[in-house]
């Protein structure tokens, strides 16, 4: 039994997708277990605070409804992050419309970022938070995916809709900005 469970956990995403498509609901649970927390971390780092769980759930529902169109050109994780980011931006846009403000620019998507409020008391956390707050939205997305998820630039490019080279530049600019902030602090 234990061996079966271990084998299931070692299955690749593609294998689990195939099993789910064959009617195995447990495969879906394994996929959710594997990717839910990284998605939540990504959403939180982009400024989503109170509805992270709902956003992650919507991401999975949308992904599973469209698994038939998933061509595995990228990894499932990259695909999930792409969906999550799109949903987040849609929410931000809708929120902005409700407030009757100007059209949301993607750069504004995370201006209100303060997901690290809970750690304000900690000096390192505060410094990092302030440094990250100085980043542009795109720099922050690239930095988060690179640092939090260890993603390759090619995958990051797919998530944020940019190029590999541009993502590399955004990452290094983000690091420079954070270092400058820490140096000045």
């Amino acid at each position: 039994m234990h061996a079966v469970t271990e084998a299931a956990h070692q299955a690749t995403d593609a294998e689990l997708i195939a099993r789910w498509q064959s009617g195995d609901q447990r495969a879906a649970a394994l996929l959710v277990d594997r990717h839910a927390r990284p998605l939540a971390r990504f959403a939180a780092s982009l400024g989503e605070r109170v509805e992270v769980d709902e956003l992650v759930q919507d991401t999975f529902v949308r992904a599973f409804n469209s698994l038939g169109t998933f061509r595995a050109d990228s990894s499932l994780r990259t695909w999930l992050f792409t969906i999550c980011r799109r949903l987040l931006l849609d929410r931000k846009r809708a929120e902005r419309r409700r407030r009757d403000t100007e059209e949301l620019d993607e750069r504004d998507a995370v201006v209100e970022y303060d997901a690290l409020d809970a750690l304000v008391g900690e000096e390192t956390a505060r410094q990092v938070q302030e440094a990250v707050n100085r980043l542009t939205a795109l720099q922050r997305e690239v930095f988060t995916l690179r640092v939090n998820e260890g993603m390759a630039y090619a995958d990051i490019a797919k998530v944020v809709g940019s190029t590999e080279g541009a993502c590399r530049v955004h990452y290094h600019n983000a690091i420079r900005t954070i270092k400058e902030h820490l140096r000045d602090d």
Binding site: W20, A29, V32, G68, Q129, F143, N148
Partner: protein, 200 residues
């Protein structure tokens, strides 16, 4: 905190923080870190940032997410959910349908060629013997005497549409035999035999 000039190594630092580097790359990175305080400081910063982000991540309930997911596709829906397999099946089915058509076309070609050959042969032997194929019972013997393996009465009255399965099979067998007979040779080769003087 300054920047190391080794961009390649700096690019590896986030991956090193996640322990996703290969054995050789990790060893190379550790070797570099031992001699580069800038990269060591940057790696420490990345790890700190990663910890901060992780600590700020709200909890999610995987079970609730799983409950909200659609049911796995079944039957036709499952097939639709796996287009590559569907394409593969379509290709196989297409090939399976196409193969008999190819054989049918080959058989039809054989019949046409055979019919034309038989028509020419019938006309030739009809002229030589003065008998129209199928006109009386001697025709078949005349044909056989001339080296023709197919009964001429069958040839003369041939209408493929009227033939039954057994007759058609027999006809095809006769056609196979026809290719090996002397009568199938060019006329120029048979001419001396036909024109032999009667007095000899």
């Amino acid at each position: 905190m300054t920047d190391c000039t080794n961009e390649t190594m700096r690019d590896l630092l986030p991956l090193m923080a996640h322990d996703v580097l290969g054995v050789h790359e990790a060893a190379r990175a550790r070797e570099h870190l031992a001699t580069c305080p800038d990269c060591a400081a940057e790696l420490a910063l990345l790890r700190a940032a990663s910890r901060v982000f992780a600590a700020a991540t709200p909890a999610v309930d995987p079970a609730a997410i799983v409950r909200s997911l659609p049911s796995p596709p079944v039957g036709a829906e499952r097939a639709a959910a796996r287009p590559p397999l569907r394409v593969e099946r379509t290709r196989r089915a297409g090939r399976a349908n196409w193969m008999p058509r190819r054989y049918l076309a080959a058989a039809a070609s054989l019949l046409i060629v055979g019919t034309l050959s038989l028509t020419v042969l019938e006309r030739f032997y009809g002229e030589r013997t003065g008998v129209t194929a199928g006109s009386d019972g001697t025709t078949a013997d005349s044909g056989r005497r001339a080296g023709l393996a197919v009964p001429v009465d069958l040839l003369g009255a041939i209408d493929l549409a009227d033939l039954g399965a057994d007759e058609l099979t027999a006809f095809l067998v006769e056609l196979d035999g026809l290719e090996a007979t002397v009568a199938a040779e060019p006329i120029t080769m048979r001419q001396p035999l036909v024109a032999a003087p009667e007095g000899i």
